[in-house]
Symmetry: C2
Subunit: 334 residues, 2 copies
DNA sequence: TTACTGGTTGAAAACGTTACCAGCCTGTAC
DNA sequence: GTACAGGCTGGTAACGTTTTCAACCAGTAA
């Protein structure tokens, strides 16, 4: 089927392309009758402008990309969703881009910056490493979320995050206060993300403070998926059956662990206590309800958008913002 | 920072823009020395072509859009993800587009077809109604998933779906066979999607076959979210406490219902049995594991891509493909 | 010598749109 | 009458690419 261009519309309506363009862009300086005629023709032809041509001609206006790594991560998805909410009414356009686990998000960003003239970036679930230099060198403002860019050499990188160390401390403290001493930590190390390391450090601090020795074999690395956590937990508890509590570095891991425990005849929290991290929606509905560190999704989203706009529109310096997380006491710890 | 164009590169490298374009597109007819020189300059400048200009000039190649409605729906997300897997190695480019609940996905599709010259569409979580005419009128091949387009007037609409009636029947039959007679159905009616209606019909058939009367008040409409199902279930069970089984039309609804029952002091499956629908990952990990109708995500994805490619490349007629779903017996029914 | 080949290259015309500028009217003020 | 403003309109030059065509320069065959 024919795809109509602005020229076709102009011919059919008996006006110039300029006039059609004016109607298309809702400019005021068009006669009402002319406008209606053109609009009628456009409607008949199901006309939609060609974005390439438009973008080519007017590469202006602040275009901002939200780059989400991890489509199947409920927490990051909720965060990106919240971000989209906070972009409403702002004097900028936003686009959401997904990259998968293996991809280089900075190359994606670089591509967007050239291809679509994207001006600013918000990374959701991203990592920080040297590769960010390519963006920083271009003076592109960027915001990292749930991860600190404070002590990096980048001059255009802001960040919004929680105090992972403090929350790791609190999570562990909760377990200690409940009387546990043989506590496992389920998590992992992600290149370019020291959040997990900080949670680990916080947890260690709590342990040290209570003079509880930590058996390194109780730090177990796992994939961040239900299946991964389940499998890891099954083999872990076979070798360390006397463990009575688990600090899981994500809610998803916590669910996998709980399911595994259940299948091994141990119930949560009666036999083993579990505390999670993130506070995704399911944590309120899972059985048992999960005691977890709830990340302030809405605050992170709001601040991220805010700090980026400040950099972009007012040339402000990048800030590094710590927002308050909160430990939600629910049912999985006893 | 300066954004380099092909002209800048040409000037810096002392060649023509044509040559740069050739290098950019890896054409064979460029002298090796010239190619290397141009590539070096491009690397120095972090050059990436402008997608708008390129798209404007070469709107060719089969571009296919996967339009996903419902970012927070785990089942639809898994389906879209699987689709992406099956596009590997195909002679076409795919792009994934999200539309939110309120948006008109056909307008989105129309826009994509004009803006990016998208040739074919796969709708994930879409609805079928008259608005699809705009695409059908343009001869754009489209595939609807998890929903039948069989008895529509569209000549370019294929579809891939399960036998919702049969699966609704099986789900209900499972409950009946377990001895239940006071069974509630939690679901809803979605405009343009008769899948739920078919599941309902199937369930009714099973009831009729077993000569069990159905109390219309036990058909309860709910939002398709944990929270929505939870709230609905709480008020429902207050008015109909003697209900002993629930057929939930999605796993998410099932989880909300189970949580609500738990909070009302009823356990699943001891007091109330629940069967879900979709078979998302969490259904294997929830406590109790959910007995549910598992949609063959991989089959739906593969067939959808296949039938669209057949229409696009070989001009074949749209087909309407029924794939086999399977009732997964797990722990939530007794 | 001429003719022709193949490997490289560049000039210029698109692609569909918007921005700028100039030009037409009609009406109003001098 | 002239001048000028304001509303409306159209012609044309961009935007950054790719594509088409022509042309160059060896080298080789006749």
């Amino acid at each position: 089927m024919k795809i109509y261009t602005i020229k076709d519309i102009a011919r059919k309506a008996g006006v110039s392309v300029t006039t059609v363009s004016r109607v298309l862009n809702k400019r005021p300086d068009v006669n009402q009758a002319t406008r209606e005629k053109v609009e009628r023709v456009m409607a008949e032809c199901h006309f939609v402008g060609n974005a390439n041509a438009r973008g080519l001609k007017q590469p202006d206006g602040d275009l901002i990309a939200i780059i989400l790594r991890g489509r199947d991560n409920p927490f990051l998805n909720a965060l990106a969703e919240a971000m989209l909410q906070h972009t409403q009414g702002l004097d900028a356009s936003f686009l959401m881009e997904f990259v998968d686990e293996q991809a280089d998000e900075f190359q994606t960003a670089l591509r967007l910056s050239h291809e679509k003239r994207v001006k600013g970036f918000i990374f959701v679930g991203g990592r920080i490493d040297e590769r960010a230099k390519v963006l920083d060198g271009m003076d592109s403002p960027m915001v990292f979320t749930t991860i600190s860019a404070e002590n990096t050499s980048f001059s255009h990188a802001a960040s919004v995050f929680i105090d992972d160390r403090a929350m790791g401390y609190q999570a562990m403290k909760t377990l200690i206060d409940a009387g546990h001493t043989r506590i496992a930590i389920f998590g992992g190390i992600r290149q370019g993300d020291d959040g997990f390391a900080k949670r680990y450090t916080g947890a260690m601090d709590a342990l040290a403070e209570a003079c509880i020795p930590f058996d390194d074999e109780r730090f177990v690395q796992t994939r961040f998926s239900l299946r991964g956590a389940y499998d890891t937990a099954r083999s872990f508890f076979e070798s360390k059956p006397d463990t009575t509590a688990v600090f899981a570095m994500s809610d998803t891991i916590a669910f996998g662990v709980i399911r595994a425990l259940q299948d091994m005849g141990k119930s949560v929290p009666a036999d083993v206590s579990v505390v999670g991290f993130d506070g995704i929606e399911m944590s309120k509905f899972f059985i048992p309800r999960l005691t977890t560190v709830e990340q302030p999704v809405d605050d992170i989203a709001r601040e991220s958008v805010q700090v980026l706009m400040d950099m972009l529109e007012r040339g402000e310096e990048p800030r590094h913002i710590i927002v308050d997380a909160k430990l939600q006491i629910r049912e999985s710890v006893q």
